[in-house]
Symmetry: C2
Subunit: 189 residues, 2 copies
DNA sequence: ACTGACTACTCACTTTTTTGAGTACCGACG
DNA sequence: CGTCGGTACTCAAAAAAGTGAGTAGTCAGT
């Protein structure tokens, strides 16, 4: 069980509908998990059945009704025991790395293109995360916020996301440059 | 299909048995994919059925016989079209990040412990990857090897792995320090 | 002689993740 | 008046990943 705990952790910040959760998973939460809306709805249904979250119907006039969920005491307990249990080691699982591994044995052209696209996507995400961090810490400077802020969990995971995206971008650009340089050498030689 | 291409890419370096592949997945390949031996055996069977790899039986005296696999032309073509297709965006998917997200709402003790364990594990992996990189590039210095080495794919993915582990270690140590500091402040105040 | 580790794999199963296709109603734009 | 984008969700199914248990022989150490 995995998405389960990501949903619970995301729901700690307040009440969310499945739809809102899906939005959140597109930005902040996406630093540590990713899921399509359908998965979130399914997971919320299961969590409710297991009593870890509770939902209430909100009737809306001009829009479809929605269900807002919050974590129950049982849900909080579940998170506690999850946090106490050992974590699986983390690793990158990325199509693009597989392609780079094979790059010098197959065509490098498309791979270079994708590395550059990725670098640009990372740039965009870096800006997004930077804005999110500024918003989360408000007026305070980072050091102060980290020591005295009340809700730092999302801030800490965003920091990880930011570092990851920066590394990823730099690596993509470096590798793209190397592969281009090698193309040139091979063309000349 | 995913593990499929990781296996094909790993097999580009020569002939491997399922068992050897499982070893490789524990170190180098683990930078971009991870799988248990059972999964690899199953994947090799499927790849052979689809004609993307071919195996030959090697009879051994003092050990069980083994089957060595290599990528076929069809397999190489499959990798080409995989490389040409769009990649899914990469992201971290890590239990520990979920725990940190929730850390200030649940007990921080176990999370701090796990952050420190992770940092140590990352240290070990950093050394391992460093050794692997030195071995791969041999006598040459890095810049030279990257431009003129013949097989740089695995080197490039190891570089990514190394950067990832360094970032991960630093983040773990920093977050552990922050959470400890906050514990102290709460105990005092 | 027993134990534990290493090579080399297989089978059966469950869980998790991903994908695709719908439903339905509102409001804005042209 | 039609269609596009946003809110809010559901159902069904396939694919991928992960888990547990087992087989069977070799070799080194106690």
């Amino acid at each position: 069980m995995a998405l389960r705990h990501a949903v619970l952790a995301a729901l700690l910040d307040g009440e969310y509908s499945g739809y809102q959760l899906a939005k959140a998973f597109d930005i902040g939460v996406a630093n540590f998990w990713y899921a399509l809306p359908q998965q979130l709805y399914a997971e919320l249904t299961k969590l409710e059945k297991d009593g870890l979250v509770a939902g209430r119907q909100v009737v809306q006039e001009t829009r479809p009704n929605k269900r807002l969920f919050h974590v129950t005491d049982a849900g909080r307990a579940e998170l506690e025991s999850f946090a106490a249990a050992a974590s699986k080691p983390s690793f990158i699982r990325d199509d693009l790395l597989v392609k780079v591994q094979a790059a010098d044995r197959i065509g490098t052209g498309p791979v270079i293109g994708q590395l550059e696209e990725r670098a640009c996507a990372a740039d965009a995400k870096i800006e997004l995360l930077g804005a999110l961090l500024r918003q989360l810490r408000g007026e305070a400077d980072e050091e102060d916020f980290l020591l005295r802020g009340e809700r730092i969990g999302p801030y800490l995971t965003c920091l990880r996301g930011l570092a990851f995206e920066r590394e990823h971008r730099d690596w993509c650009r470096r590798i793209a440059a190397v592969l281009r340089e090698r193309q040139k050498i091979n063309a000349d030689g």
